[in-house]
């Protein structure tokens, strides 16, 4: 039996990249079951590389990455199915002819494996996943007819239909209006609590997640800081990573890319 205190994702001095380009260097990080971890960092800091690594799409060039106690190179299909993934928005063709239910059923395909057809149980799991995101009333609607926020809900349901242990979300709120952003984040927090899912959320929006996550991981090619939001969101740490374009107020902290241009 695996020890429940063993991390389910463990980076051990792992570096990732392509020949001549290091995207992430010397990362040591453990993520435990049931944690809600936010991954932040400026553009090009290696957030998406971290995401691809956890999905088993990129092996470390140095060091080790263990996912579910498996070296990431040896990750089998059934391991991958245990990670529910929400990719960045904007990848889906609006006119792609697929219904909401057909989209969510795709979440069952990896878990089912080759040669097996989805059955009634898979259909039920897909409908349960849709109910979790409050989209079960739209099962036969064309995906392209939904609003951006609704599409994100459907994609979260697709990830849930995998019956994952980990939910990996790559900038789930980008391109949504402010109310929808809050709704999506609240939904993710709700799923984390209700389904005891380990959540790894990659985002630019520190303000949105700082009060909701257990831990923050701050990347800038290296692992710059990791710990509780209070430990990571210190002015000296943030200014080192984001430069001077940062305004910290008593209640909130704002990252203003063009602050100096206006003042």
């Amino acid at each position: 039996m695996p020890d429940s205190h063993e991390p389910i994702i463990r980076f051990d001095r792992a570096s990732f990249g392509f020949p001549g380009v290091t995207a992430l260097k010397d990362i040591s990080l453990s993520i435990h079951a049931g944690e809600f971890v936010g991954v932040i960092g400026p553009n090009g800091s290696g957030k998406t590389t971290l995401c691809r690594a956890v999905l088993g799409l990129m092996a470390p060039v140095e060091g080790h990455l263990h996912i579910f106690d498996c070296a990431c190179e040896e990750l089998r299909c059934h391991h991958r199915a245990m990670i529910g993934y929400l990719p960045q928005k904007g990848v889906v063709d609006r006119n792609f002819p697929v219904t909401v239910l057909e989209t969510v059923m795709m979440g069952r395909y990896g878990a089912l494996g080759l040669f097996k057809r989805p059955g009634r149980r898979d259909h039920e799991i897909a409908m349960e996943a849709l109910a979790h995101v409050a989209m079960d009333g739209h099962r036969d609607t064309a995906l392209g007819h939904l609003s951006g926020g609704q599409q994100q809900r459907v994609f979260i349901a697709r990830a849930l239909a995998q019956q994952p242990r980990v939910l990996l979300l790559d900038e789930p709120t980008t391109g949504l209006d402010i109310t929808t952003q809050h709704n999506v984040i609240e939904l993710i927090q709700h799923l984390h609590q209700e389904l005891q899912l380990t959540v790894l959320l990659i985002t630019h929006d520190i303000n949105m997640i700082r009060s909701r996550v257990d831990r923050l991981v701050l990347l800038k090619t290296r692992l710059f800081a990791a710990g509780s939001p209070a430990e990571v969101l210190k002015p000296d740490i943030l200014s080192q990573v984001y430069g001077k374009d940062l305004v910290i107020t008593e209640k909130d902290l704002l990252i203003v890319e063009d602050y100096h241009h206006h003042h």
Partner: protein, 276 residues
């Protein structure tokens, strides 16, 4: 007109047209959705180069067509996977290279060979019983594999990286799709010819695409349109004595433009997602 159906050659033509129409239109769904339209065109010209070489050397034409077709799609897939070049560039290079080879092989032939041109323009009315058996066998093979791997093929057409991340062996499925495209092209060469097979793959699926928002319905509509236009084209060809390949393709094109006029997608008002 009914007496047409009593001729053996007509029965063979209609049967081969129906099989090729069905096969092309079903694989066309995955080709259109995965954005591989140009691969169909490139492969058909590569397969034609194989046919030309076969006639030059006295080898079996279908075998060489398959070899040339498979080599082309696999090189294309490999180049895309390595991310070195965009798919349309690599297929464009292979397309013109294989066409140059075909012209070279034809040029090297000492005499004019009408049969070779039959593979370029298609001659459904001259399909032999043996060719019909080969078309039937390969069609069953391709359709069987499409059916067995349909859920994976739909998923990689939707989003290959998401499919791979959720445990689908996406790269192997992509190469399977490319292989099936090559086999479909070869199966269709004799019936519709290298130039027009591309249309048989592209048009029925694109027509169905206008009419539905469901993957399953799209495949069904595409197959119906593919079989109907192929059989209809052969009948038009026989009755009015016009070449069969253009008759099939022009009938399919007419249907495509009708579907655009009737498309619920065209008349849809912009949804909130439109703004993102």
């Amino acid at each position: 007109m009914l007496e047409l159906f009593t001729y053996d050659f007509m029965q063979r033509s209609l049967l081969s047209a129906a099989m090729v129409g069905g096969l092309c239109s079903i694989i066309g769904v995955f080709v259109v959705l995965r954005g591989l339209s140009f691969v169909g065109a490139g492969t058909s010209h590569a397969a034609f180069a194989g046919v030309a070489l076969a006639y030059l050397m006295g080898w079996p034409p279908l075998l060489l067509a398959i070899l040339f077709g498979l080599a082309t799609v696999w090189i294309t897939g490999w180049v895309e996977e390595k991310g070195r070049m965009k798919l349309d560039v690599s297929i464009g290079i292979l397309y013109t290279t294989t066409m140059a080879l075909a012209i070279l092989f034809i040029g090297l032939m000492k005499t004019y060979n009408a049969e070779v041109y039959g593979y370029l323009f298609g001659s459904v009315l001259s399909v032999t019983s043996e060719e019909l058996r080969i078309i039937g066998g390969l069609s069953i093979l391709v359709l069987g594999l499409l059916l067995v791997f349909s859920k994976e093929l739909y998923f990689i057409a939707f989003d290959q990286e998401m499919a791979e991340a959720s445990g689908i062996p996406a790269r192997r499925i992509f190469f399977l799709l490319l292989t099936l495209v090559a086999l479909t092209v070869v199966v269709s060469l004799k019936t519709v010819g290298a130039i027009l097979v591309f249309a048989m793959i592209l048009i029925p699926a694109s027509t169905a695409y206008q009419l539905t928002h469901s993957l399953i319905t799209l495949t069904l509509y595409s197959a119906i349109i593919g079989v109907t236009t192929a059989v209809g084209g052969v009948l038009i060809s026989a009755v009015w004595d016009v070449p069969s390949g253009p008759a099939i393709v022009l009938l399919a094109t007419a249907l495509f433009f009708c579907s655009m006029l009737l498309s619920p997608k065209g008349m849809r008002s912009p949804s909130p997602a439109h703004s993102h």
